[in-house]
Amino acid sequence: MWVAPPLKGGSNKIMGSDALIYSVLIYGLVNGAVIMLTSLGFSLTFGLSGVANLAHGGIYLLSGCLAWILLNTLGLPFLPAAVITMVLAGLLGAGVYWLVLQRVRGLALSEMIVTFTIGIGILEFLRWAGFVTYDFNLPVIIKGSLTIAGVIVDYQRLLVIGVGVLIAVLLWFFSHHTKIGLALRGMAQDEYTALSVGIDSDWAAALSMALGHMIVAMAAIMILPLGLISINVGYDVLTMVLAVTILGGLESTAGLTLASLILGYATAATGMYLNPQWTQVVYLAAIVLVLALRPSGLLGKFKELEERV
């Protein structure tokens, strides 16, 4: 996995129950930020266009591979490589909409099948292309670490927290206080009313796909340096994103944040007291439990209720 929760006797040299608790508290927050940053692109695209982009894991890994190629094969410096990766991911998102999704627009199941197939196709293509060994990793942006309450936390993880919060705030501002953001939200609510006042729904959906992909690419560039670029990461990311959006409630930014923190702490505790291999079980259990007990998610709501008011 891209996040390595602290293990007993591991590199963090944690001793005693207090240190274990501190470790869970700190790494829960780190994991939460990682989960939030990874999921923001999915949430944005779904919130603004209604498309559940199940190609998310594939795009995440593809972005990592693109960045690796730009850095290592073409020898570009980090910043241009990151920007080019994000732009390419954005163009891919818009292209997927115009070439494929536009044709099945409004058919939720078809949209999911299409994006899921694209995601799997990308991951298996990368496997075929040879991104399966342990040779591929991205450089950290800031090297070094600091110790908080006896727990070693590297700067890259702290950077992920900062970037995650910053992106979430910027997205909220964009969607609530800019003309284009308002238009995208309007289109997501009622396409034909949006069309009636001159908002081009296809343009808006393509833009939301592009923005979603760009954020996924940024997440990959920020988070993949914490681990290896491997095909399994793509599949893990898809499961994680589904868990966090279902737990938080689709379209709810506050729900996404809350769910990220809950899953962050759950995975940190699981990694600490059981085994990191169990984190996937945490995600899957969250999906099943939430769908069984509160299908709208923790902070999501069904529209029908509002319409009856």
């Binding site: 536009q102 308002l182 009622d190 319409e307």
Partner: protein
């Protein structure tokens, strides 16, 4: 201003609008009346370009076959194949039936969205006019639109399209489902818009409150034009009066 020539619209083999020709001149208030399934909404959606949008979408995904025949002209220009966005740009704006608004946005945000294609100072002017026309919206400008009453939602729906600064305002059953008091309020607003020389083309099932406002009217049934004339001529026609105007 608007010319509809021999318009026919099919949903698969069902004929929704049948060889309809009509016109709306600049500054006129024209009504089109008919019962349920008469083809009023299809006509309005076709003029606004929404039927064309739906047709293309259905074609892309292999869905329902929609056929649009005939010609639509606006200011002498053929707009039959123009996208909805381009029609709004030209000033053709539709207020669809059942108070279409953006429920998760505030009243103020809705009005700003209405002016999406307009310049900032134009949007400000339009919003000021809407608040003057419907003072209750001003009091609720920061309230979520989905929490407004049905009547206020219809006011907001009209405000939303007014913010788009229409030259031709299309309205599809604005009185549908409103209380008599709220109907009176909307009729007052429509009268004001008419006095401002805004060109209005309004479809309504319950024609009685609208009749005093219109310059001319059409009655359609099963997508076919039955009768047309001035408001007075329509009211004076006993068959039309009893069948459509509840008089």
């Amino acid at each position: 201003m608007l010319e509809v020539k021999e318009l026919m619209v099919f949903y698969e083999n069902a004929l929704a609008v049948n060889n309809l020709s009509l016109e709306v001149k600049e500054g006129e208030f024209v009504g089109i009346f008919g019962s349920n399934s008469a083809g009023k909404s299809t006509l309005m959606n076709t003029i606004a370009g929404l039927t064309l949008h739906l047709k293309y979408r259905e074609e892309r995904r292999g869905g329902e076959r929609i056929t649009i025949l005939g010609r639509l002209k606006f200011d002498g220009e053929d707009i039959t194949h123009l996208k909805p966005v381009d029609r709004v740009q030209k000033g053709i704006v539709l207020c669809r039936e059942r108070h279409p608004i953006f429920r998760d946005n505030t009243v103020q945000e809705n009005l700003q969205l209405g002016g999406y294609l307009r310049k900032e100072h134009e949007v400000k002017e339009s919003i000021a006019f809407v608040f003057e026309l419907f003072p209750s919206l001003k009091r609720r400008r920061n309230q979520k639109a989905g929490m407004l009453s049905g009547g206020e939602q219809e006011m907001l729906a009209i405000g939303l399209v007014l913010a788009a600064r229409p030259r031709l305002l299309l309205m599809d059953e604005p009185l549908l489902g409103l209380s008599p008091v709220m109907q009176q309020e909307l009729v007052r607003a429509l009268k004001r818009l008419s006095q401002e020389k805004l060109t209005i083309f309004l479809a309504e099932q319950y024609a009685r409150p609208i009749m005093p406002l219109i310059d001319r009217g059409y009655v359609i049934e099963n997508g076919t034009l039955i009768v047309s004339g001035s408001g007075k001529e329509l009211v004076d026609n006993p068959e039309v009066r009893s069948a459509y105007f509840g008089m």
